[in-house]
Symmetry: D2
Subunit: 336 residues, 4 copies
């Protein structure tokens, strides 16, 4: 039985804590949050104690920490956890700054602690099945990957102000999926975008609609399209073209009900947003972390994966700012 | 080049005449219709002449007749055509009376002329593909057949008065499909029905909603459901269950367009009615008749098929009237 | 917090116990099973004690019992539970004998304890949504219901020997769905069936393939088709036709992945069997029982529902034995 | 009744001639082809005469010409037809050189003859319905367009040598669709591509796999993906995202048959290639030309449309050659 502490008692924190409890192989000892009430509520639900970071890191019985607090705290907490020898489950992104990410990676490397970055989509049963089938060679060699990833609606502007821009906040998941599916690292990124949903987003210097094209060294191609608004719900689709065929993973729906009436034949809209669509993925993801930890196995998603997705986001940002495709090596190479 | 005469210049007659013209292997010489204007119009369209039946049967150059006039004229025309040695393409049903059908079959047997009964659904590309795949053994032995067959709306009451009741007018197509798909003749028929669409139908002594169950000697089962009203259009689906799997043929739609909006994800309704859904089937059907005639081959649908479908309709009618399942042999055996 | 005892520690018992634990509003105190090992394992998992029936019924703190033991024990346990004043969650069927079901109903009536019969399909999210939408009048008045219900494979013959025949064992779920969807009680049942999957089933005097047609007093029609074998998995579909349209609920699949290759465009088979397809339904069902109990509300499925489904199964059995449709009143009327 | 001459008696020529015959409003007088046999065969089929270009242009009764000969002859024939005062239906592309296209446009402008460029996809019923629904505002303002356009297999290398490269030969249809759907002209084009299907294509200096991103002045975005190989057939899909929803048009299939077996639930592959998928589009396209001509209306696709699609192809070519996005104005502006 592993012993955990969790930073962050918000929406996603509540999910991780519940999944940890359901995993059966771990118990939550501490909950840490600047919002004392939220911390108390979550701690009570799971028979845990409210604590501060110092207590967590000082407790030798803590095996691992879940970092589900606000983005700007991730890197510091991860570094502190590494120094304290705790295994780390960190929500994406590690940090919005590549420099700080690198500092974090250096710390975990030095401390030799395992770190898992929460790219939940890798654990979605449909995406996972698609990738497993790629691995069997069912469609031959991968040639093109097309990722449609569209949120149901714009987050609050207050959130957008600190989110690091669409590529680092939203597309970062798609960059990770691209790496995971292409079977090769992208070497060049072209990105363009617009503000079509709300002019207020433009005033923040951000975009709400984006298209990206990437290529790998051997010429595999990847397209990502994003929007902050899809009136029909969370649009999360993947299409992979290979030499022998095409694999697609479509949206998930609440029910299989179909209506035929004088207007049309209609079915359910996709599940509303990430909490609904990826409920199962969050569960499997945490179980995978716990299992890897318990068995001393390599983490299925690593801090390096977290860094590489950010590198692609940075490249996209540079591309949109310069109006040109950007070599990934030029960004990744900043690494000390 | 075969030379044809056609009886009936109405809606279905116009379709057959156009398909005959498009077949390229036949020419239409005469059009016969009690409605002189309609006959004139159709004859003009296809470079044919308006004539009476006597002229048609007396013309030794006429190879074949298409009987697409009103149902009550089918049997007399077919018998006269047989006596004149003309090949016959006859719209379903041959007649509403089994006795008259038998007289007709006797006439064509005596005259040794080929007769084709217009069970158009056998030529629908989807149904045809389904049956061809049954024949390959793709789903093993046929065990159950389920036929959903629902019209978009009630025909005029004037039509219903002379149509012979739902089983002989509408379900007869489904009885033919059942025979065609089961691979064995039904030996028992149970039918029940209601008047749910319009009470006026009940006042005619008819029903507008029906369910039928049939079984074959080896125990294969078949269900048919019918309604005279489907607000979403013509519902024409087949489902066959075999020892190794299931084959289904679904509805056809005008386009492949899909809308996702705040309400639902919706697609086209099925094609409106038989003229739309079976346009291709009518074309292939007539071409099949012309080809069989030109090459002296057996007709792909025979007068005997027309009789057997009527036998099942009669059995269904007796079942609904007596409230019990009916042995098909008891009906079919009336045959002289 | 309600206190529960559970009879039966087998496959379905394990599911109910886990769902009870997850409900958060109830705790399991006792597990009873003739298989001591199974009882021990389940009790340990949920922090409960192994006990015998006497202990359960004598403990005044037990609020409710879950009866998930073998079918032949249901009625006796339910009667004993009623006498002891315990609320009852009973797996279907209450009993294979209508007489014993009536004895059971009399006992719970006398004891005034609530009884819930486990017709899990009523809690499947797709079927539930379909029914909720019927209730809104979205497709007008219900006219026809079509239920396709096919198991992936034949159960062991040893099970079939004691299962009471296909109608009481398998179709009983469909009879309940029919009642739930038709909005009126069936008044007449016609059933036919065959042994197409395995001749050994026929030697047990049973069938493995069935078709049923039922009608209600106002003329609504219902068709059920069953098979003990569907090579592609558990086929559980519902189709309801109303005056304004059609509602269907289709199968559920493990993923949304689609493959296009040189052969076809293919998707997942349906979920394998009831444990997979109805996992969510079992969870919601038990939560509904707990919630109704906690709030003193009417049970969403009652012992009377259990009886009525059995009445239809008996009618189907009499129909297949006599070769005629059977009036439901003639069966139901046996009730004292 | 309009009188036509046709240049080109190959595969696409045969289709246009048959559609012309079926239109009922035009007759084909001359067929011109360097392959005398092919010309003879097609002329015989339609009761036309074999002739040379001089005869066609000298015959004052010829109202219009269909140019369906090899690409390198289009511009000269169109210019000659313009000078002779004949209306022009020209297969795409007008020419591979923008300069020669401009010469052609100048000629038709001077001669004031109508010219129609054969962008057949605009007449596909699904794409047409999608665009009509865009026009109703059903999904609000267009924001993103995604075009998947993949051929079943590589054409012969001999064809590729003279085809002008993938963008001018294949993507040109997609550029036209993009213009047609975006509601605004693209102002910038980024293109990248690879040779993944066959290295022989690379040796020709061409690509076989491509991804394009375009943007309009107001920031609407468009993605196109292409491959010369789709093992499952012709993949022709469109997705348009608007402020209120998403419209998609999917592939068409030969039948609606679905198989469920122990492996999967599978449906037909898409129709094989353009002759199958766009058979209906070719028919409607030619009828639209004939109708516009007969009624003296504006052509639904103009020579200017032909030019603009080529401008985008040129921009894409420049983009792939320079590795940068290209301003459309810089290409279009070459126009004299």
């Amino acid at each position: 039985m592993l012993t955990f502490a969790q930073f962050g008692a918000g929406r996603i924190g509540a999910i991780h804590a519940a999944n940890l409890a359901a995993s059966g192989d771990a118990q939550l000892r501490y909950v840490v949050d600047v919002d004392a009430k939220a911390a108390r509520r979550l701690a009570d639900t799971h028979g845990a104690r409210v604590a501060d970071a110092r207590t967590v890191f000082a407790d030798p019985e803590i095996d691992a920490v879940i970092i589900a607090s606000s983005t700007d705290t991730h890197a510091d907490l991860a570094i502190a956890a590494a120094k304290a020898g705790k295994a780390i489950f960190c929500e994406k992104p590690i940090d919005l700054s590549l420099k700080r990410v690198d500092a974090c990676l250096a710390a975990i490397k030095k401390a030799r602690v395992p770190m898992f970055v929460g790219f939940n989509r890798r654990f979605d049963p449909s995406f996972r099945a698609l990738r497993d089938r790629l691995a069997t060679g069912e469609i031959g060699e991968v040639e093109q990957v097309i990722i449609s990833s569209r949120d149901p609606g714009l987050p609050p502007l207050a959130y957008l102000k600190v989110a690091g821009g669409q590529f680092r906040d939203m597309t970062i998941h798609d960059f990770d999926m691209a790496r995971w599916l292409l079977g090769e690292e992208p070497v060049e990124v072209y990105a363009t975008g617009s503000c079509l949903v709300d002019p207020a987003v433009a005033r923040l210097g951000d975009i709400d609609s984006a298209m990206v094209v990437m290529r790998t060294a051997s010429g595999r191609l990847c397209h990502i399209n994003n929007s902050r608004r899809a009136s029909y719900g969370y649009d999360q689709r993947i299409e992979v073209h290979g030499s022998l065929g095409r694999l697609m993973a479509g949206n998930h729906t609440p029910t299989s009900v179909e209506l035929a009436d004088k207007n049309a034949v209609s079915r359910d809209k996709p599940l509303y947003f990430f909490l609904e669509r990826y409920a199962e993925a969050y569960r499997i993801e945490l179980a995978a972390f716990v299992a890897a930890l318990a068995k001393g196995k390599t983490m299925p998603v690593t801090a390096e994966d977290g860094r590489q997705a950010l590198v692609l986001a940075e490249a996209a940002l540079k591309s949109i700012n310069t109006g040109r495709p950007v070599k990934v090596a030029a960004i990744a190479g900043r690494r000390a």
